[in-house]
C-alpha cells in the first residue's frame, strides 16, 4: 500500500532513461504512450543532462499505432529527432505498449543505421521490472550494439599510454551524487597512473565508444556486474568487482593496491599518491578531533538507500566514527533478493522499497541520525532525528560536484556528520538550559 503511495523509483524504461540521460552526447528516443517520459521527468527534477527530463524525444503513440503497429511512427520520430537534436548516439527505447503490439524496434534502429545514423534500440518495457532492471538492459543492448555503430562526430582520444579503466555500478537513477562520485573516482584512478573511462560525465559518448578497448572493468555494485560480465565474454576484459565504491583513505588504499596489481602499474607511484591523500586528509581533519570527542562519540544512525550507498556510507561511519548503525534498508534489492543473496552486513538489514515498511523501521530504530532520501525527511523530522540526504531521490538539496566517495567524499561526510552532531548537541544544550531556568 505504502509503496503505491510513494514509489521510490519508476519502471525499467525510467531506469534506461536515467542511464542514458547521464551520458553526454547520447539522446534517448522514447517509443511509448504520452506519459511514460513525462513521469520520469516529474519524478526526477534534477534529471536530464545533455538531453532528457522535460525535453525527451518521444513518439507519443495513440490508439492508431497500437492497432496498426507503431513502427512507422518511430521511424518518423527517429528521423525528426536526428534533425533537431545534435547527438552522437541515439537510443530508441521500447515501452510496454510497443512490446505488447510487437513493434520491431530493432528493425527501425537497423534501418536508421543503414542510412548512416548512429541509432541503437533497447527493449525496456516497463513491465520487465524496476529501474535497476532497465539500467542493466540498456547497458546490455549498448554493449551488444556498439561495435557496429559509428558515433557521430566521435572525439578522438588523444594518444595515452595509461591503461583505461571502465567504471560500472554507480547508477545515476539511484545515486544522486553520481557525478561528483565519478569525478572523484577519476581523480583517484588517474592519481595512481591509470585512466578512467567515465560514461556519466563530460565526453560520455566517446567513453562509450572506447568501452571495448579498456584494460579493466571495475564494478562497484551488483548493477554493474552484468555489463562487466558481458564485456568479459565479448572482449575478454578482466574485472575487478567491489561491493561498493571506496570511501575513506583505508578503502582508497585497498582500491589503489588492487588496481596496481591487476593493471601492473607503478606501485611506488601509486603509494606516493595515497600518502599525499592521507597527508591532505590529516591536515583538514586535525582540528576536527576535539569536536568529535566533545559532540560526536557514540551516535546512532539508520541508513536507507541502494545497497552500494548503504554499504559505503554505513561502513565509513561505523569504522571512522564508531557510529552505532541500528537499521540498514536496501531499497534496490527488494525485488531480487532471492536471485542473489543480500550482502551479509553487521547491522540489522532489510531489503525493501516500501515506504510504509521503511517508515516503521525508522520509527522502531530510535536513532539520532537518518541517512536516507528526501522521502524519509518527514519521518526524520517527526522523530527529531537529523536528516542527511544520501540516496535517491534528493529533493531538499541542489547537487553539483558533491561526493561521498574516495578521499574527498570522506572529508565531506565527516563535515556533514560533525555538523549533524553539533545540531544534536545544540538541541541538548537548549533543553538543558530551559530545564535550569525553570
Amino acid at each position: 500500500m505504502a509503496n503505491i503511495l510513494h514509489p521510490r523509483a519508476g519502471c525499467a524504461l525510467h531506469g534506461a532513461l536515467a542511464t542514458l540521460e547521464a551520458i553526454e552526447g547520447v539522446v534517448p528516443i522514447v517509443h511509448a504512450n504520452a506519459g511514460c517520459a513525462i513521469q520520469h521527468a516529474l519524478a526526477n527534477r534534477d534529471c536530464g543532462g545533455y538531453v532528457g527530463g522535460l525535453a525527451t524525444p518521444a513518439s507519443n503513440i495513440v490508439d492508431k499505432q497500437v492497432i496498426f503497429g507503431g513502427g512507422s511512427r518511430l521511424r518518423e520520430q527517429i528521423k525528426n529527432t536526428v534533425k533537431v537534436i545534435d547527438g552522437q548516439l541515439y537510443v530508441a527505447l521500447g515501452s510496454c505498449e510497443c512490446a505488447m503490439v510487437g513493434d520491431d524496434l530493432g528493425g527501425m534502429a537497423r534501418e536508421a543505421a543503414e542510412q548512416g545514423l548512429p541509432v541503437v534500440a533497447s527493449n525496456v518495457a516497463g513491465f520487465h521490472g524496476d529501474v535497476y532492471c532497465g539500467h542493466e538492459r540498456v547497458w546490455r543492448d549498448l554493449i551488444d550494439a556498439l561495435p557496429d555503430v559509428t558515433l557521430a562526430a566521435p572525439s578522438h582520444a588523444e594518444a595515452d599510454a595509461r591503461p583505461a579503466v571502465n567504471l560500472f555500478g554507480l547508477f545515476p537513477g539511484g545515486n544522486p551524487y553520481y557525478k561528483g562520485d565519478l569525478e572523484e573516482l577519476r581523480r583517484i584512478v588517474e592519481g595512481i597512473g591509470a585512466r578512467a573511462n567515465v560514461f556519466y560525465g563530460p565526453g560520455g559518448a566517446a567513453a562509450l565508444q572506447a568501452l571495448p578497448r579498456a584494460a579493466l572493468n571495475v564494478v562497484f555494485s551488483r548493477w554493474g556486474e552484468a555489463a562487466a560480465a558481458r564485456l568479459e565474454e565479448k572482449y575478454g576484459t578482466p574485472q575487478l568487482v567491489f561491493d561498493a565504491a571506496p570511501l575513506g583513505l583505508e578503502e582508497v588504499a585497498l582500491f589503489a593496491q588492487a588496481l596496481v596489481e591487476k593493471l601492473d602499474l607503478d606501485a611506488a607511484a601509486a603509494e606516493r599518491f595515497v600518502e599525499r591523500e592521507e597527508a591532505l586528509a590529516e591536515y583538514f581533519l586535525l582540528g576536527a578531533a576535539d569536536r568529535y570527542f566533545d559532540e560526536a562519540v557514540g551516535k546512532s544512525a539508520a541508513l536507507v538507500g541502494d545497497s552500494e550507498t548503504v554499504l559505503r556510507i554505513g561502513g565509513f561511519l561505523a569504522r571512522a566514527f564508531g557510529v552505532d548503525i541500528r537499521a540498514a534498508v536496501l531499497t534496490d534489492r527488494a525485488a531480487d533478493a532471492e536471485e542473489m543473496p543480500l550482502p551479509a552486513l553487521p547491522w540489522p538489514t532489510r531489503a525493501t522499497a516500501d515506504a510504509g515498511e521503511i517508515d516503521a523501521i525508522l520509527r522502531e530504530s530510535g536513532v539520532e541520525l537518518i541517512f536516507a532520501s528526501s522521502l524519509e525527511a518527514p519521518v526524520a523530522r517527526d522523530l527529531g532525528a537529523v536528516f542527511l540526504p544520501v540516496s535517491h531521490p534528493v529533493l531538499d538539496r541542489a547537487i553539483t560536484i558533491d561526493t561521498y566517495v574516495g578521499a574527498r567524499g570522506a572529508l565531506r561526510l565527516t563535515r556533514d556528520f560533525l555538523t549533524a552532531a553539533r545540531q544534536i548537541a545544540r538541541v541538548g544544550e537548549a533543553r538543558l538550559l530551559a530545564a535550569i531556568r525553570v
Binding site: 510487437g102 527501425m108 561491493d243 561498493a244 571506496p246 550482502p343
Partner: protein, 320 residues
Amino acid sequence: MSDNVNRISFHARPAGGGKPVAAGGAASAPPGTHIAIYGKGGIGKSTTTSNISAALAEAGYKVIQIGCDPKSDSTNTLRGNHYLPTILDSVRGGNKVHLADISATGFKGILCIESGGPVPGVGCAGRGINAAVTLLRELRLFEEFKPDYVLYDVLGDVVCGGFAVPIRDGITDRAYVVTSSDFMAIYAANNLFKAINKYAPTGGAKLGGVIGNGLSAVYSNAIIDDFADRTGTCVAGYVPRSLVVSQSELYGKTVIEANPKSEHADIYRALARHIADNDDLVIPQPLGTNDLRDWARDWGDRVFNLDNLETGAPAARVAA
C-alpha cells in the same frame, strides 16, 4: 565465475557472491541454423516439423524443436505424447525457470521444448511467445546444447506483431511455409510472405522455401509450383496425404520412428536433407490481394477443365 574476476569486499562478509542475471538479448548469433516453420492452422506444420527433426536427428545432427504455439502439441510425436510442462506454465508458477523443467529429450536425442501460452481468450499469446523465446536465450540454451539445427514450429496465421517475433529480431534466419493446394492455405502462406517481406530488409529471416503437404489431387503440385513461381520462391518438397502419417501420429510417433522403411519416411528424409543443405534464401514477393484472387480464379477454371476431363461428368461451371 572466471579467473578473470577479482572480488574485493570493503564491507562485512559478502554472502558468497551470487551470479548476476545472465545477460540475454540479441548478442552474436547463437550456434546452429535456426529455422521457423509457418503455415495455416491445421495444415501439418507440427507433423512436418517433427518428421524433419526426426530425420535430421537420425542423420546424426543435434536438433532442438521448439513449439511456439499455445496448444503446445508441437513435439508430441517426438516424445511419445508424454506431458511436458511449457515454458509459460513455469513462468506462470512464478519460480525461477530451469531448462531441465521445461525440456524433454525425445527421439534420437532431440531436445523438445514447448513455449505454451495463456488460457485461450485471455492474455496476449504473441507477447507470451516473445517472452518464452527471450527466456530460452537468457538461459543460454543454444550455447549450452550447441545444436546443429533449431526448428521453431510457429502457430497458424501471423495475426499480430508477437507472432512475427521468430522471423525478426535475428532469432531465426530462415523460414519455411507449409501449405496444401487449398486456397486458404496459400492465402496464409502469402500473408507470411508479406511479413517476411516487411522484416527481411531490416535483418529479419528470409524464406527457405515452400513445403507442400497433404497433397492428394493430381493438380496439387502444379498449383503450389505456380504459386512459388509467381512469388519468386521455390518448393522444398512435396508430401502427399497418407495413412502412414495418421497411423504414426496415433502411435504417438513420427513416421521416421514408427515406419522408418515407408515411402513417406524417405520423403521426409529427402525434405530434411534439402532443408539442411539449402542456403538459397530469398525475400518472397507476395501477391496483392486482387492478384491473389485472380490467380485463384484462373486455377479454378483450370481445375474445372481437368475434373471434366477425368470424370467425364458435366459439372456446372462456376460463374466467373
